[in-house]
């Protein structure tokens, strides 16, 4: 494999990783602050994509569509938190899983009811369509570079928010001791709604960005949700830094595994069985990575002691 191709694949892995980070950041924030397992996070991703597709069809502008996705997911997230999720904080995780699983079904069928079963269309904006030439003669999609930039900006923004703002202090305090922060006079209900809406908005943003290069369809969120869970388990549940490192690890492992494993097996067996075995093993690679990390760090890379 040439160096240019390797760099291109590294960029692909990076792009996949930062997209997973935007998704996983909300999930890990919600778990860290509220102790809630939110299976419906994938539905918020889907809502973001559908809102973007709807807004783009109506206004013709990708940027307005991104705003619409953020707003729609945040509003739906806030409503869901106030109506359903709020009743679940004191319940055990099984109740949370059941209730949020029910939300997946409701959102999927509701979306199908409104938008129909056929996939929708969302286009990339014309300034970002097509490839650009990077130093070294590597041709790479402008839109994927845009996703990388947005993902890194979200990471920097979240870091600033949590490390430097009053809201961040409250979030960190909420993670450490929920009762105490309420006793100190912080409106914990408002804080929870805000954190949930923030997580939802990030999921919606990821959905809208990815919707422009993939299919906008019902059920698009669940495969990503599974990967996002893998990311936060690897990174340590509740840790934004862990989610970032975990997401990049998963993105790179998945992308490079898909490319390299069939070639590695090609050295020792014939071509057709090498592609089959390599492809099968590549689809397992991130789970093997997760198992390996949990073996040495049972609470994840940046998780606290269990």
């Amino acid at each position: 494999m040439s160096a240019a191709l390797l760099i291109e694949q590294l960029l692909n892995g990076l792009q996949f990783g930062v997209m997973l980070f935007v998704m996983a950041a909300g999930l890990t924030l919600i778990f860290g602050v509220m102790g809630l397992i939110n299976l419906a996070h994938g539905s918020l991703y889907m809502i973001g994509a559908f809102a973007a597709a709807g807004a783009a069809a109506y206004t013709g502008s990708f940027w307005l569509a991104l705003v619409a996705a953020l707003m729609a997911a945040a509003i739906v997230g806030a409503i869901v938190e106030m109506v359903v999720i709020r009743r679940l904080y004191d319940r055990d995780h099984l109740d949370q899983v059941l209730a949020t699983f029910a939300l997946i079904l409701i959102f999927s069928e509701g979306t199908r009811f409104v938008f129909g079963s056929l996939p929708l269309y969302l286009d990339t904006p014309s300034v970002l369509s097509g490839p650009t030439t990077l130093p070294g003669g590597i041709e790479y999609s402008k839109y994927r570079l845009f996703i990388i930039a947005v993902g890194l900006a979200v990471g920097a923004g979240l870091y600033g928010l949590i490390a430097r703002t009053r809201l961040g202090i409250q979030i960190r305090a909420g993670e450490a001791d929920r009762e105490m922060i309420a006793a100190l006079g912080v409106d914990i209900r408002k804080l929870y709604t805000l954190v949930f809406a923030l997580g939802a908005a990030l999921a919606g943003l990821a959905g809208a960005m990815i919707g422009a290069i993939q299919a906008v369809e019902v059920g698009m969120g669940e495969p990503v949700l599974i990967l996002a869970f893998v990311v936060i388990v690897i990174g340590g549940i509740g840790s934004i830094k862990g989610a970032f490192v975990g997401a990049l690890l998963v993105g790179l492992t998945d992308t490079l595994g898909r490319v390299l494993l069939p070639q590695v097996f090609g050295l020792v067996m014939d071509a057709s069985s090498a592609t089959t075995v390599g492809a099968s093993l590549a689809s397992m690679s991130i789970y093997i990575l997760m198992a390996g990390i949990l073996l040495f760090k049972p609470s994840g890379l940046f998780g606290g002691t269990p």
């Binding site: 792009q15 079963s117 996939p119 999609s141 299919a215």
Partner: protein, 378 residues
Amino acid sequence: MTFKTFAIAGLMASTASMAVAQDVRIGMITTLSGGGAGLGIDVRDGFMLAIDQAGRDDIEVIIEDDERAPDRAVQQADRMIQSDDVDIMTGIIWSNLAMAVIPSATAQGVFYLSPNAGPSQLAGRGCHENYFNVAWQNDNLHEAAGAYANTAGYTNSFILAPNYPAGRDALTGYQRMYEGDVASEVYTQLGQTDYAAEISQIRNSGADSVYFFLPGGMGIAFVRQYAEAGVDIPLIGPAFSFDQGILGAVGEAALGVRNTSQWSHDLDNPANVAFVEAFQAEYDRLPSLYASQGFDTANLILSALDVAHPDDADAFREALRAANFDSTRGDFAFGPNHHPIQDIYVREVVMEGDVLTNAIVGTALEDHADAYAGECNM
């Protein structure tokens, strides 16, 4: 209940069953919700259009949604056969569901007409006298794509499919006809939606053509990302990723792609012209490949019902085998294993007004039968 009312009820029940004795019940199990629902909806709409056009009130169609789940499909089939007493079944879209339902249905004496799924097992050793496939054997469109690659002068193809049985069959089918070299054979994960890594490989492969089989959302994602990456190696695919239901979501990225199909809305024969017009009038959208298959299936059943009732199994089977109906595909005949012998065309994605659709540019294979007919002992 007194004896008298009991007797009356019994009498009514027996006259009722006498009255329905000559009626025909058709059970349709298809995918109407969940992933891939668009296909089942089109098959149903095409099928019901033909039934409505026939205007017969002795035909009852029972429709169930399998939600693409094999266990649901099996339950529904059992209920249709045992309680609803259906004569004919149809509707299944997916090969794995077909394998779960069809062998047991035909073994219980029900006629099964597949409007879509054509797994190789049912065309070869597992063929059955009561099973007819009105669409294609699964390999057919891939074989046609291989044949087209030869005529188009491609000699170095990059081939790509998901790592599951139909995906492996697709690449085998392509290579059965294709005579050139294979630059690389890549299997992706089923349900994968990001193809950046594969597209980078394609760009660097030196291939002169790309053949891919990625049904549903996978195909939408691949084609759009392929256009986005600016790779200019021509794509070839089977009709599934470029059919009417899906083209709107793929968008202009699909323009110019060549795909193989046994049907196209611009096929110029009277049955097809009438079908396309009636379908648009009824449902306000262009029909898809799947809608044409549902329509043909219903018309085949209707043509056989004019000859015999399914209770007279031998006569009804002969009437089906004769395929004496006006197919939207023009020429249509069954091979010895009850799978179609038909022409397969090459289509190109074009813009008609402001609607993306397909136009026929040539014929890939004429009177093409499947590769498994020889293994079938009926």
